[in-house]
């Protein structure tokens, strides 16, 4: 069968960055749930991800998805010291805000707000963008994420030193680097394989 582009159902495109729950509609055909083999399930890592059209689309290259998912989980969920979860999510949200991924920003802004309890600051990042003043500690993390996300990359020793002045140790700084770098991966997939939609029923 000839492969084709999917026409998403009628939906409302989110026109602002938001912490609201969004849907994501694929432009290419995900694998059908009933077509998932053991190798695909291994790629999904969590069986619950079989519900997501995004992950079932990526499951077309299951080995790449499996390694990507496990990289993701260690960068964001490994509880062994380093950067607190709230700030790892902040780096993800800031990177997504800068690259322009409304869907990714919504998910990780929610997580950052949940873990930090700093809803107003997170919302300011979404509303005003990466130059919003969030206090020096968060500003340093946002600036580092932005400098890592430009092409060519502009991150340098001055960003490391600013993070150190904000009392991040080197493991925490490595966490900022990985979180921002990982969202340069995630943003490109989310932005180019489908589109966000205001969740049905809202």
């Amino acid at each position: 069968m000839l492969d084709t582009i999917l026409e998403p159902p009628p939906h409302t495109v989110p026109a602002v960055f938001t912490r609201a729950l969004l849907d994501w509609l694929p432009w290419l055909e995900p694998l059908a749930v009933e077509a998932l083999t053991e190798r695909h399930m291994a790629g999904l890592v969590d069986a619950a991800r079989a519900k997501s059209p995004y992950f079932r689309l990526l499951a077309r290259d299951p080995d790449a998805l499996r390694a990507r998912t496990r990289t993701d989980k260690d960068i964001f969920y490994n509880p062994d010291a380093g950067l607190p979860r709230a700030e790892r999510e902040l780096a993800a949200a800031a990177t997504s805000r800068f690259n322009g991924c409304i869907y990714c920003a919504s998910v990780h802004a929610r997580f950052s707000a949940t873990y930090s309890k700093r809803e107003a600051d997170v919302q300011r990042l979404l509303d005003e963008g990466v130059n919003a003043d969030l206090g020096e500690g968060w500003n340093a993390i946002v600036a580092a994420s932005v400098a890592l996300s430009t092409t060519p990359i502009t991150f340098g020793p001055q960003h490391v030193e600013r993070l150190r002045r904000a009392r991040l140790d080197d493991l925490a700084i490595a966490d900022v680097i990985h979180a921002a770098a990982f969202f340069n991966w995630a943003n490109r997939l989310m932005l180019s394989l489908g589109e966000p939609a205001v969740a049905a029923g809202i």
Partner: protein, 200 residues
């Protein structure tokens, strides 16, 4: 292929066993091992599928070349040579990189309050002579890679249709997209850890 048995990020950053950065990377063992596993899955897959090794490394040489980090680009250019790419193809990729280099990210938002943040930049189809050497399939991939590297928020279904029209299947497009997106990660981890080492 280069780097199939040694960790690519360690190699490109210059991380030595027992160093401070080696210890830091060991605190996130899956991030370390699975970044390498991602590299293997995309550049030496157990089940190669329909995307050839030369196509994978050609796209990688272009993407890393656009990022302008000489060492990372040289690594994938070496992989391209090992994959059996002709000297003519390698020269055509160098030409494509020189013609398409720029600064990102830019692009447009859905019409509304974010329109004031729209930043316009070039779309950059590869030139006719380069296209002739690359062939229509690889040339379409390069056009898409330029979008993913510099202005991913401009992505549209039409961009994917152009890939389908150039004989890339849905599954191939997932692999191509993963290559561009993974490299965007790997390049940044390398640059970031290098800066961290340099600031020590």
């Amino acid at each position: 292929m280069p780097g199939m048995d040694s960790d690519v990020i360690d190699t490109l950053v210059g991380i030595k066993p027992g160093s401070a950065l080696d210890a830091i990377r060991n605190r996130r063992p899956d991030a370390r091992n699975q970044a390498q596993a991602s590299y293997r899955a995309l550049f030496a897959p157990e089940i190669p599928g329909e995307v050839t090794a030369t196509e994978r490394f050609a796209v990688a040489a272009f993407v890393t070349g656009l990022h302008g980090d000489a060492e990372t680009a040289a690594f994938y250019t070496a992989g391209l040579a090992t994959s059996g790419a002709s000297a003519e193809l390698r020269r055509a990729i160098d030409t494509a990189i020189a013609a398409a280099k720029g600064h990102g990210p830019y692009g447009s938002y859905p019409a509304g309050p974010l329109t004031r943040e729209d930043t316009i930049g070039p779309t950059h189809p590869v030139g006719a002579e380069t296209r002739r050497v690359l062939g229509s399939r690889l040339a379409a991939a390069f056009d898409h890679m330029h979008l993913l590297v510099f202005h991913p928020r401009d992505a549209t279904p039409a961009a994917l249709q152009a890939l389908l029209d150039a004989s890339w299947s849905t599954t191939d497009i997932v692999t191509l997209s993963q290559i561009a997106a993974f490299l965007s990660f790997q390049i940044r981890v390398v640059a970031g850890l290098r800066a961290l080492a340099g600031a020590a």
